[in-house]
Amino acid sequence: MGAEIEVLQPGIFSAIQDLGRFGYQKFGVPQSGVMDRYAMRICNLILGNAEDSAVLEITLQGPHLKFQAPTAICISGADLSPQLNGHAKALNMVIEIKAGDILKFGKRISGFRSYIGILGGFRTETLMNSQSWYEGLTSEFRLKKGMKLYYDSQSRKASETYSTVKQETTYLADTNIEVYPGPEFDQLTLKQKEQLLEQQWTTDESSNRMAIQLKEDLKNEQKPIITAPVMPGTVQLTPSGKIIILMRDCQTTGGYPRILQLSEKGIQVLSQKIPGSRISFKKKDYPDF
């Protein structure tokens, strides 16, 4: 049965996301998708959903949501103190929902982005093979007060047990970002390479789903490059020495030297850093060819 969630409060920035759009980058459409793929996967697995079912990605301060009909949800990723009808709820566990239940969030305990999965996934607009919201493309790009989100109300049979899923949450506090050298890494001077990999860096307040900028500069005389493909996790160095780490909503091509490339683990860890966090890059190497 189709049911709705009423958005009583939208939170700072909440959006429906899945693994993103694939097949439309050739038209200049960003990939989008959840910032932290690991957390999304965990909450879907715990619910017994398909791993790529759409989830609600919430940032720092969660929304207040009212459920119209029974279902089950699971919350994974950052601990933003979820409460159901005023009672604290644990992460990474199935939370049974009854008609009229209200989910709220409180203080941030760890991480930056939390994910709400729902039994069967959210039923929202699919555009270009994806439910991921993106400003200027999908009809909605952020949760708004009074908005409705749809799902199929279903109750699990008593005999069914939820799968136990091993998870680890230590990455939420990790400050090491796993990177590979980018295509223009070798154009950096030895001194620049050293500084890049040894210094601690601070994530800037201006950061969003498109890019995370770092506060400190890397002194630079690198010229722009011929416009070339980029992807989530590409680390660009601007002529003024700014370091920009592209995230899920990034453009498909760019003209700044690509000095590093985050691994998927690196993107996952960085996604959970609140603005102002101290991070360092931990370089991995490709196999020898």
Binding site: K26, Y180, I226, T227, Q261, P287
Partner: protein
């Protein structure tokens, strides 16, 4: 231009194919031939292949299990490629109105480049431009072939909002803004054509390798075309050429 491109992993879920050379139609021909081969190849997981001027990116849906093996497989696939000397292409005609109401910087370009406005329009509509790729914004075409006489630097302070359809020049590039957006290019006209429509499949009529020609139109024609487009009665003029 290198004969065979450098093929290397980019992070743990992509492979980059890079010619590292100058840009031009030669290298684009190779890039597009490789792109087709890669798109027709069956990979172990879903991939998407995009190209820019002289490189290609194969991005995988999830992390690649055996990066070493995967890179070798791509190398092998591309080594066997037979690059045709010529290829088929389409020329699309894109109507552009160069009236001063839309060509906000025509006068500035005229003064700066010491060219009459008529001459600017003539130089801008003469070439057959090559679509190298689509990037930056959904539907934004990277075009090659701008006349050197029209090269001009971007505005010192970008406009807060450039209207959808605006045709501009930035350094050696010319292009059309697919939607209202901030922008620093010098604007010389406006096209009523939709470059990106999310409700159409494909969302853009153009793809890398196509060619386009700008056709000057009057203000009256602009408004009547705009109406036709809105009513869904408009079809882009296109000619097919065998290689």
């Amino acid at each position: 231009m290198k004969e065979f491109p450098e093929i290397s992993p980019l992070g743990d879920r992509a492979i980059l194919v890079d010619f590292k050379g100058k840009i031009g139609t030669d290298v684009l021909g190779k890039v597009l031939c490789y792109k087709k081969l890669l798109q027709n190849n069956s990979f172990k997981q879903k991939v998407e292949v995009i190209n820019a001027y002289n490189s290609l990116l194969i991005s995988y849906m999830s992390t690649i299990e055996d990066v070493y093996g995967e890179v070798l497989a791509v190398k092998e696939l591309l080594r066997e490629a037979n690059i045709p000397k010529k290829r088929d292409y389409k020329i699309y005609q894109i109507p552009v109105c160069y009236d001063k109401e839309f060509g906000l910087d025509l006068e500035y370009i005229s003064k700066e480049k010491k060219l009459a406005v008529e001459k600017i329009i003539e130089l801008h509509t003469a070439p057959i431009y090559q679509v190298y790729f689509i990037g930056f914004l959904p539907g934004f075409l990277y075009l090659g072939g701008l006349d050197k006489k029209l090269e001009i630097s971007r505005k010192e302070t970008p406009r807060r909002s450039v209207e959808k359809g605006s045709v501009g020049i930035g350094e050696n590039q010319t292009g059309i803004y697919p939607k209202n957006s901030p922008g620093g290019w010098q604007i010389l006209g406006k096209s009523p054509v939709n470059l990106f429509d999310k409700n159409q499949d494909p969302p853009s009529p153009f793809s890398a390798g196509d060619r386009i020609k700008f056709i000057p139109i009057s203000k009256e024609e602009f408004f009547s075309l705009e109406e036709e487009i809105e009513n869904g009665n408009f079809k882009l003029e296109v000619e097919n050429y065998g290689g």
